[in-house]
Symmetry: C2
Subunit: 306 residues, 2 copies
């Protein structure tokens, strides 16, 4: 059901992230205007959307919003209530885009930046109405993975945006303070740093590390967060007992974690390891397998939500 506040959504940048957002908005009945500076990307949009919309229908998301593929930028943003911006991660390009948007729309149009690597204060620099900008970082693919990480300086606008995304079943986490990598990419980056260290130290290879994650902590983290997991690791005393008895051990282990350098030799080992793990499957095949598995997990979690 479309949110009363935002009816017309403009999607700027229709690569992987933008197209996935567009599918989610359409599946929830919103009117979407999509624009991309690359004509071929726009030409293929409808066919790329059809698979994502089929996937959403499996999850019970069956709305049929109206899609307009906009011939020019002005037509896309005209009358938009919310602009989901998915330009490449180049600060000059994004700032230029915001300048163009502000020249084209009234001051009430909200801009949600899907950025993973920039923070709000980087992006808002030079804007006339910076408060209308939010960072709204999804996780790939945005139409399937629930998380959206929000940050903006205007609490009222953040609340409105949060209600909009939650209305589509998204899990919205609002940052109290902006941070590079927001929350989830910081966690992922911290984990991967240690994964790379384990490869560099010759403790285990790429595939074994991935297997250990998927069939160990990854499986559990699809159900229960890291803090809550340690709550259950503390026995009857919970997290307080854990911190009391095992906190010092964790602090010692933190000292022992690695800070690898991605040297050419180490990169080669990672590339070889990943290609071996992929076992000849193309990126497109892996994406399809991932998406099908994600849908099964999402359906399973609905039956047993913790």
């Amino acid at each position: 059901m479309a949110n009363a506040r935002f009816q017309r959504i403009a999607v700027l940048g229709c690569g992987l992230v933008g197209a996935s957002w567009a599918a989610l908005f359409l599946g929830h009945g919103y009117t979407v205007a999509a624009w991309d500076p690359d004509q071929a990307t726009l030409d293929s949009l409808r066919s790329r959307l059809s698979r994502s919309l089929r996937q959403l229908r499996r999850l019970g998301v069956v709305g049929r919003g109206r899609l307009a593929v906009a011939r020019d930028f002005g037509a896309a943003v005209d009358n938009a209530d919310l602009i989901q911006e998915n330009a490449p991660e180049r600060i000059d390009l994004k700032r230029g885009l915001y300048r163009d948007i502000e020249a084209a729309v009234g001051p009430l149009t909200l801009i949600a930046a899907s950025t993973s690597s920039f923070v709000w204060s980087d992006l808002a620099k030079g804007m006339r109405h910076g408060e209308r900008l939010l960072t709204a970082h999804p996780f790939n693919p945005p139409h399937l993975v629930p998380l959206v990480e929000l940050y903006g300086p205007d609490a009222g606008l953040v609340r409105r945006a949060a209600a909009f995304y939650r209305g589509m079943g998204k899990t919205v986490v609002v940052l109290k303070k902006e941070a590079t990598g927001h929350i989830a990419n910081r966690l992922a980056s911290a984990l991967w740093r240690e994964a790379v260290h384990i490869v560099a130290e010759g403790i285990a290879d790429v595939k074994d590390i991935d297997d250990a994650l998927v069939d160990g902590p990854g499986l559990r983290w699809a159900i229960m967060g890291a803090h809550m997991t340690y709550h259950l690791g503390g026995g009857a005393g919970g997290i307080a007992a854990y911190l009391e008895h095992l906190g010092p051990g964790q602090e010692r282990r933190w000292q022992d974690l690695g800070t690898p350098r991605l040297t050419p030799a180490l990169r080669r080992r990672i590339v070889e390891g990943v290609l071996g793990e992929a076992g000849g499957r193309t990126i497109a095949q892996l994406e399809r397998q991932r998406d099908r598995a994600l849908i099964e997990l999402l359906l399973a979690r609905r039956r047993r939500r913790i």
Copy 2:
């Protein structure tokens, strides 16, 4: 189906980990002798096992091995082919236990230590036949989470143990080199360090960080490892393109990750956050919810294994 090589398993230490191992062995038809120095722990074992065995039946693990609750240590290890050791994480206690085992059994009995915090060379010190010891670290609860991390100096024994655990459907990862925390707890520790840093910096609270993990990277890591995820993050060029274009950005982000100290004030915030997240649910209730959700996810992954 029981492995031809190991028929009689002794489970030493019947707390959470030991009882869960015992259930798995019994479900796969093995003969299990269980012992614990605490009589109350032994007395409650059969009733604690019945829930785990019911859970295993939901997963199609329907064997009915014979359980002997051993009155004394000698009776438990006598004639055991493999001893799964689950004593508390105290090095003196474990070394004493291995001394007692070696005095009681022949040189061919394998000892698998469920240890999370010690490495093989710590544990084997002082043993007569150290090569018969392996570290075999499961993830809680061992009867549901597939991962077992193995390390031992004798490649042939490691292969035999790996075949034994794999015969029960476990995912076995063999370390090439021993490492404190093996693989998965190093990854978990690295992630949690950053989670604690995010709390300490006031970027987000405990529950929001847990939510971001569970509905973001955690969900994906239940399907696909960290390296493979970046392979898909590299576009058509895969992991090589990712490392080329985004590797330097990751190295910069690594510099920005935190190294928090678990001060009393920070511990209090974590405890309050976790208790708020638990929302009055007891540890036992949370464990039951976790186990039910794990079973649903395991069944879902069988339908769409990547």
